[in-house]
Structures are given as structure tokens and as C-alpha cells.
């Protein structure tokens, strides 16, 4: 499978504080790739690097098979982008904004734009600056979709929107993917939203990649285990899964383990260490996300 986006050993340091460090990402072509992370984790900076808006200090960026930012004009003609903040000219009307955008994209799909205009119920004579937040988001999605890009890069496109608008936007995105087999790279901190639509997910924190894996693997492989009679951590042999956290259970009996890459046959491991696995509890994506971040941050807090 080819990748729509590939980042290799990316490094970017805009100032003294924040830094993107040794970032590797592989976004499979045709996937809906969720890019998760708390506010300030570097999602928007990464997206700007991917699109050539920023120049990395080190590393390699390949988008749709071309090097960025060197081939940015060619790549951007094939990419629809919805930034985090509305950035369009507030003095242009909806219609004028569409005309402006159409002038720059040879693949502009006029009929599709008209269809989306009706579907999103946007008033074409209204100034962009006077649209509500939801209407602005819809217009930006309209522009990105009407460009007929092979790749859509969406930076928190539904952040702060009401559920009805969110649903409209997500439905339009899914329809687009079904029709065009495009790749969607969508960043968000709304975990539940990504859980519904994404088939791949990456988690970022403090400029570093925490994990990148198929959504199913992350969801099905991250578990909370109730364990009794386990030895202290130092005396524990190598685990077949990734042990993210180990803490006393809330009710005082045994321990709670948070593990990754869990498979049912691994229950046998507990017999070998003389412990009892009492329960295996599924975590949803949000719980997995929280546990991943907690574990990821723990060594730094300790040291």
C-alpha cells in the first residue's frame, strides 16, 4: 500500500519552547487518518509542515509522492485544506469566495460546489465575515471538496460546532471518500468523532508521536485488566503485551493493569507468573487515548 503522506525524522523548532522531534508518520492512501492530540501537542504545526506552509529544520516530507515543501504548488493543486481558523477574505461574499477559489484550481468541480451550496444551505450573497462559525466551517469544507483533491487535510474542522453541523460535515466527507477514494487526514481532539469515521489513528503529544496504528488495533488491543496476586514490577518477566500502567485497584483488591497489543491468548501469561486474571475490560478510544498520554508523560514527570 502506498502512502499519501510520509514524514521521516521530521524536526521543527519555531522558538525556544515547543519542538517537533523526530516525527515519523505514514498515512496510507485511501484511508481516513485521525490525528489526535491535546491542544498544543503540535498537530497544527505538523499539518502546516505537511502542506509546505512551514519549512522543517530536518527530515523529509513526501505528500502524494512529491517532496515538500519543494513541490508545494504541484502538491497543493491536489490537496484540499481546511485550516483550524477561518482564514478567508471577510469582505468577499460566499459566491465571490467560491469564484476566487475556482480561479486557482483547474480541477474545480462547479456543479458539485453548487450542490454543496444548496445542501449546506449557505446564502451566497452573505459576506464571509458575517457568517456564523458553523456556516464558515461548511463553506471551507465546500471549497475543499469542490477542489476534487486526492487528499483532504482537515485541521479540527468541526471544533466548536453544534452536533447538527458536525454531522452534516462528516456526512459530506464520508460521501466524498466513498465517491473519490480520497485520503483524509483529519486532526481533532474530539476523540469520539474520530472513532466513528477513522480507520487509522495517530496520537501526538508535546511534539512527539505517541503511537500510530490502525483504529481497530488501538481500540481492540488496549484493555484494562483486573489482576490478583502479581509479583512486584521488578520481579515480573517480559510481558507479551505492552504494559502501559499498573496501579492498585480502586476497591483495594488486586491491581489494575492498562495494556496495549492485547490478544485473548495472552491470558496464559498470568498462569506463568502465578497471578490470576480476574477481568478484561474493553476501553473505548477516549480511554485508550487518555491512558496512552498518561503513560507517555509519566517518565518525563518522574525524571
Amino acid at each position: 500500500m502506498t502512502n499519501a503522506i510520509e514524514l521521516e525524522h521530521l524536526r521543527y523548532r519555531p522558538g525556544k519552547g515547543f519542538e517537533i522531534r523526530d516525527l515519523d508518520l505514514h498515512v496510507p492512501a485511501g484511508s481516513i487518518y485521525g490525528f489526535l492530540g491535546p491542544n498544543g501537542s503540535g498537530k497544527t504545526t505538523t499539518i502546516r509542515l505537511v502542506l509546505g506552509l512551514l519549512r522543517p529544520q530536518a527530515g523529509q516530507i513526501t505528500v502524494l509522492g512529491e517532496r515538500m515543501p519543494d513541490d508545494a504548488p504541484r502538491v497543493l493543486a491536489r490537496v484540499g485544506y481546511v485550516p483550524e481558523q477561518p482564514h478567508l477574505d471577510p469582505t468577499l461574499t460566499v459566491r465571490e469566495t467560491m469564484n476566487f477559489q475556482a480561479a486557482f484550481y483547474p480541477t474545480w468541480d462547479g456543479p458539485r460546489a453548487e450542490q454543496l451550496l444548496g445542501q449546506f444551505q449557505l446564502d451566497e450573497q452573505r459576506l464571509f465575515g458575517r457568517l456564523s462559525k458553523g456556516q464558515k466551517a461548511k463553506l471551507m469544507i465546500l471549497l475543499a471538496l469542490a477542489q476534487r483533491g486526492e487528499l483532504l487535510v482537515l485541521d479540527e474542522p468541526t471544533d466548536g460546532l453544534d452536533p447538527v453541523v458536525r454531522r452534516d460535515i462528516l456526512a459530506a466527507l464520508l460521501e466524498y471518500v466513498a465517491q473519490r477514494r480520497a485520503t483524509i487526514f483529519i486532526s481533532s481532539h474530539l476523540v469520539h468523532e474520530l472513532e466513528r469515521i477513522c480507520d487509522w489513528v495517530a496520537v501526538m503529544d508535546d511534539g512527539r508521536l505517541v503511537t500510530e496504528e490502525p483504529m481497530d488495533k488501538l481500540k481492540n488491543g488496549t484493555k484494562r485488566l483486573r489482576v490478583a496476586g502479581a509479583r512486584p514490577p521488578a520481579a515480573l518477566p517480559q510481558t507479551p503485551f505492552v504494559l502501559l500502567a499498573r496501579e492498585p485497584a480502586a476497591n483495594g483488591g488486586g491491581e489494575t493493569w492498562i495494556v496495549r497489543d492485547w490478544r485473548p491468548e495472552m491470558t496464559a501469561y498470568f498462569e506463568t507468573i502465578g497471578a490470576t486474571l480476574q477481568d478484561v475490560i474493553d476501553l473505548d478510544l477516549e480511554d485508550s487515548f487518555v491512558e496512552l498520554l498518561r503513560t507517555f508523560r509519566a517518565p518525563a514527570q518522574g525524571g
Partner: protein, 218 residues
């Protein structure tokens, strides 16, 4: 593409351009208002020259103001959107800058033409004393040069970030401070005078703004 950018720029600059066009048309006409009749003697001709000269000071002011305001308006939508939209468009940055620059120049054609038409009309309708001549075309050309120089300078400054503007202001401030310190310390150093010579005297970049701006001259 050019049409799209020109249209968006027109929406930001139209008030400036319309007011500049009206002012550009009115200025030559006002400067020859009550122009001398043909029977006027040498003294009246001198009065006319003085009047034309005093109005002439307004042309470089208008040119500089138009250049400044249109340059600011040219970059205003991009600054407002933190350049994200501009940078995400599928064209090289140099080409985008050229399109922006070109559309600003196109909008400035209006006020320049207005000066030309106003100057032609004023010199045609006025009775110019013997020995004096009208120079509408030369005045309009000089005005065009001044507008374009001012626009180019302010376009370049406006294109930069707040940091760039800060550096430019810092350099200007440093020159002034050095000059003040030198005068207080009785050191013979005329930085401002030298700068003035370099910038405002021919072939300095802003030489077009200096000298006499005469619609009617000997």
C-alpha cells in the same frame, strides 16, 4: 487568477482608489483655478507660477498617500488571515506576490489617469500667459512614477511581518538617536543630512518626490 486577486483587492481598496481618483482629477484643475487671462502681464504670470507651485506640493503627498494606502490594503486580507490561505494556494510564492503587486498597480492606474485627464483639461481650459506653458503629460508621468515608487516601497514593507517592520523602525530610530547623541556631544556628524542626500537627491530612490511639481512653467 489575476482577475480573482484584482477583484478581492478592489474590494479592500475601492474607497482609497475612488477618493484618490477624485483628488487626482481635482488637483490640476484647482491649481489653475482663476488662471491668468491672456492679457495678464509678467507680474500676474509670476503670481500664477507661485499658485501652481504651492498646489504642486500636494502631488507628491497624494502620490505617497496613495502608494502607502493601496500597499497596505493589498496585503490586508493576507495579514488578516495570517497568510494561511495565500500559502495554501497552488502557486509559487513569487507568482502570488507578483499577482498581488500587479493588481495593486492596476488599481493605481485610475488615479494616475485622473491626474492626466485633470491636467489636460485644466491646461486646455485655462488661458495661460504668454511665455508660460502647460506640462500635463510630464506632470502625469512624474505623478505615475512617484505613485509607483511609493507603492513599491510600502508594498515591500507591508509584505513583511511585524518583526520586519520593527527592524525597519529600529534602524530609523537608531539613526535618529545617533544623530541626537552626536549633536549633544558636539561631534561633527550629519547622518540625517547624508541620508537625505542619498535618498532624496538624484539618483536616490525617492528623488522623484522632490523638486518643483509644476503643471504650468516657463
Amino acid at each position: 487568477m489575476f482577475r480573482a486577486i484584482l477583484y478581492s483587492q478592489w474590494k479592500w481598496s475601492r474607497l482609497i482608489v475612488v477618493l484618490g481618483t477624485v483628488a487626482g482629477f481635482a488637483l490640476p484643475i484647482m491649481s489653475l483655478q482663476g488662471a491668468a487671462r491672456a492679457d495678464r502681464g509678467p507680474l500676474q504670470a509670476q503670481e500664477l507660477l507661485r499658485a501652481v507651485q504651492s498646489w504642486g506640493g500636494l502631488y507628491p503627498v497624494l502620490a505617497a498617500a496613495l502608494g502607502l494606502l493601496v500597499a497596505i490594503a493589498t496585503w490586508a486580507p493576507d495579514h488578516r488571515g495570517r497568510h494561511v490561505h495565500a500559502l495554501s494556494l497552488p502557486l509559487p510564492r513569487w507568482r502570488y506576490v507578483l499577482l498581488r503587486f500587479g493588481s495593486g498597480v492596476t488599481l493605481l492606474v485610475g488615479p494616475i489617469l485622473a491626474v492626466l485627464v485633470g491636467a489636460l483639461l485644466a491646461t486646455t481650459l485655462a488661458s495661460i500667459p504668454v511665455g508660460l506653458q502647460g506640462y500635463p503629460l510630464a506632470l502625469a508621468l512624474r505623478f505615475a512614477m512617484a505613485v509607483l515608487v511609493a507603492y513599491a516601497v510600502f508594498f515591500a514593507v507591508s509584505a513583511g511581518t511585524a518583526r520586519t517592520a520593527g527592524i525597519i523602525l529600529g534602524v530609523i530610530g537608531a539613526v535618529i538617536v545617533v544623530q541626537i547623541v552626536a549633536s549633544v556631544a558636539n561631534v561633527e556628524l550629519d547622518l540625517l543630512g547624508k541620508l537625505q542626500v542619498v535618498i532624496l537627491n538624484w539618483p536616490g530612490p525617492l528623488a522623484v518626490f522632490t523638486g518643483r511639481w509644476m503643471l504650468v512653467d516657463v
